[in-house]
Amino acid sequence: MPFFEAIKLALSQIRVQKLKSFFTLLGVMIGVMFLIAVVSIVEGMSRYMTEEFAGRILGVNQFTLRRSPNMQFGDVSEETWRAWARRPRIYPPEAKQVRDALPSGTHAAIENINFLTAESVFARPRQVMSVGTEPEYFDIKKYRLTSGRAFSEQEVLRGSPVVVIGVDVAEHFFPNLDPLGRELRIVGQPFQVIGVLEKQGSLFGFSLDRFAIAPYTSPIGNHINPRGDIDGLVVQAMDEVVLGDAMEETRGVMRSIRRLQPSDPDNFELETSAGALSFFAQLKGKLVVFGTALPAIGLIVGALVIMNIMLVAVAERTREIGIRKALGARRRDIMRQFLVEAATLSLFGAAIGIVLGAAMAKLIAATTPLPAAVALWSVIAALAVGAGVGIVAGIYPANRAARMDPILALRQE
């Protein structure tokens, strides 16, 4: 029997027994639904990590010179912690020496970050992520201003109390007002708002617009780092090759400043997004394995239900099988008929599961900070899994049908 004929037959079978088919497919449907939802969320997170987090927060072709890693992935031993704590702090003069040694075309800026209390006459005090930095920071972060201006080298040299704020800060402290020229007090010190940043959006539900940027030499400097050291020096290279050179330069300069012997390990950190990305890749693998274990159980249950339903179908249609055999159907024709029926049934369930799963992923993305992206490969995989489940579940019943004795089958009432 031609393949097409078998599919038509299978579809008409599903149409005749809508309700039964629906319950039969529940297992596959739910299995595939969760499969798609889980994979979509993992995929969404991973895309977010590589594109948004690594790209925007950690930066592409970027590294940060730090005393110790800012982000720890995986387990860090007590001993490592203590070694990091023993490392010397980094001070602005060292940062300057490094900057002078960097290849031309690279940008570098000191970056000190802390949550500080800000207040204005228009609103209640609030914690704001405060960054003490230098003008090149705006180039590195590709920050655009919707109004006003960034601060200058002179203002950094003078330690001017000027500040560029994110839109959340602007809206909170200066509701329905133009914040430019107005006063924002940070840790009690008056700052003049000189610019407002373009909206940045959010990451995992955290606003990226609730921050203020001021010269690191301004009064907030003392509050972020009372000892006068720096959190880090962010370096942006043009491309991967320059990035490597810049890192080597930085390492060389730092080691010579610190008079390290060739056998000594670095007592500073050059942090890139690579570490974060590899960590996320690992995490993604674990999430996929873990996240598909549950749907897999659904699929196994689904397969058992389909097998059972197909056995019932074969028993109920014994006479039909007899008639078909009497008219010349070979074993493989009957086999194919029931396999295609099981696979079509299961594929049907998988298709519904895909739609539901995608909807569920979208719903989760819309109602929680988790991102979601329905990957094409997961849809194809789900369809393949659907067909596979049907075929596996159908083999035993189909084989039973194919081996029926035509006369005994015809005799059935």
């Binding site: 029997m1 031609p2 008409s12 008639i323 055999k325 009497a326 070979r330 006369i407």
Partner: protein
């Protein structure tokens, strides 16, 4: 077994249908292993079918020798349980014998495997059952198409041929009806159309009128009659003498053996129908 008509001329009887002579038949069934010539559609030699019923052996057929020539119209009669259906199922390749030879169109089918038998059923045999055996959810047209589906005929040609077959049994206006929308006689005509659609070399009918009232039975018998007249080889099981009287030749089974195999005139005389 009566030999009254041995030596009869068997072919070319005007207005009547061809029938083989006893002597010819005897010659072809008593040479084991020999391939019968092509004019013999069916030759069985010592055909046996036994059922093992949990230690007790039921001998449904105990050595049947039968030879049927192309274009013959043969009725098989006999009391209930005499082995008629068993013989029909063997001839129709739905079953395989316990022992003996079965040659169909000069090909030994008694040793064939499942799938080979399926091909033979599809190509060579049209089977009409007492209980119609139509697919209940399929239309008349689709039921008639089925043998062509398994023959691998493309959809267009399938439809065309199925329609022609239904027209031949005057059902062109019932093509899209399901079996439960048809009368018993109409159902059996659908079954006949289905049996003939793949142009089989033999048409087998196991009590085709068993589920029909007498008026409808007559109508169905007329269909078989005209098919036989047009040259179709027909073998029909019946237990009604007046129905058997339509055939040219009557084979009577008793306890799994052939009790008589004769022209219908002899049979008529025997049962007092002459």
């Amino acid at each position: 077994m009566s030999d009254t008509y041995s030596g009869d001329t068997t072919l070319g009887i005007t207005g009547e249908h061809a029938i083989s002579s006893t002597a010819e038949r005897r010659a072809v069934v008593t040479s084991p292993g020999a391939t019968p010539s092509r004019e013999w559609v069916i030759v069985t030699r010592g055909l046996k079918r036994e059922y093992d019923m949990g230690g007790e052996v039921v001998r449904a057929l105990r050595g049947v020798d039968v030879a049927i020539r192309r274009n013959e119209y043969v009725a098989i009669m006999g009391p209930s349980g005499s082995g008629k259906s068993t013989l029909m199922n063997l001839i129709g390749c739905l079953d395989t014998p316990t022992a003996g030879e079965y040659w169909l169109n000069g090909v030994l089918v008694s040793k064939m495997e499942d799938d080979e038998l399926a091909r033979v059923r599809n190509k060579e045999i049209g089977f009409v059952f007492q209980t119609f055996n139509l697919l209940p959810r399929a239309t008349a047209l689709h039921n008639v198409e089925l043998p062509l589906v398994y023959a691998g005929i493309p959809a267009d040609e399938r439809k065309k041929r199925a329609k022609e077959a239904l027209e031949a049994v005057q059902l062109d206006n019932r093509m899209h009806h399901k079996p439960n929308e048809l009368s018993g006689g109409q159902r059996q005509r659908v079954a006949i159309a289905r049996a003939l659609v793949n142009r089989p070399s033999i048409l087998l009918a196991d009590e085709p009128t068993g589920n029909l009232d007498s008026a409808t039975s007559t109508e169905i018998m007329k269909v078989f009659e005209s098919l036989a007249r047009s040259g179709q080889t027909v073998i029909m099981v019946t237990h009604e003498a007046d129905i058997a009287a339509h055939a040219r030749r009557v084979v009577v089974l008793r306890d799994g053996l052939i009790a008589s195999d004769d022209r219908r005139e002899a049979f008529k005389a025997q049962v007092g129908l002459a």
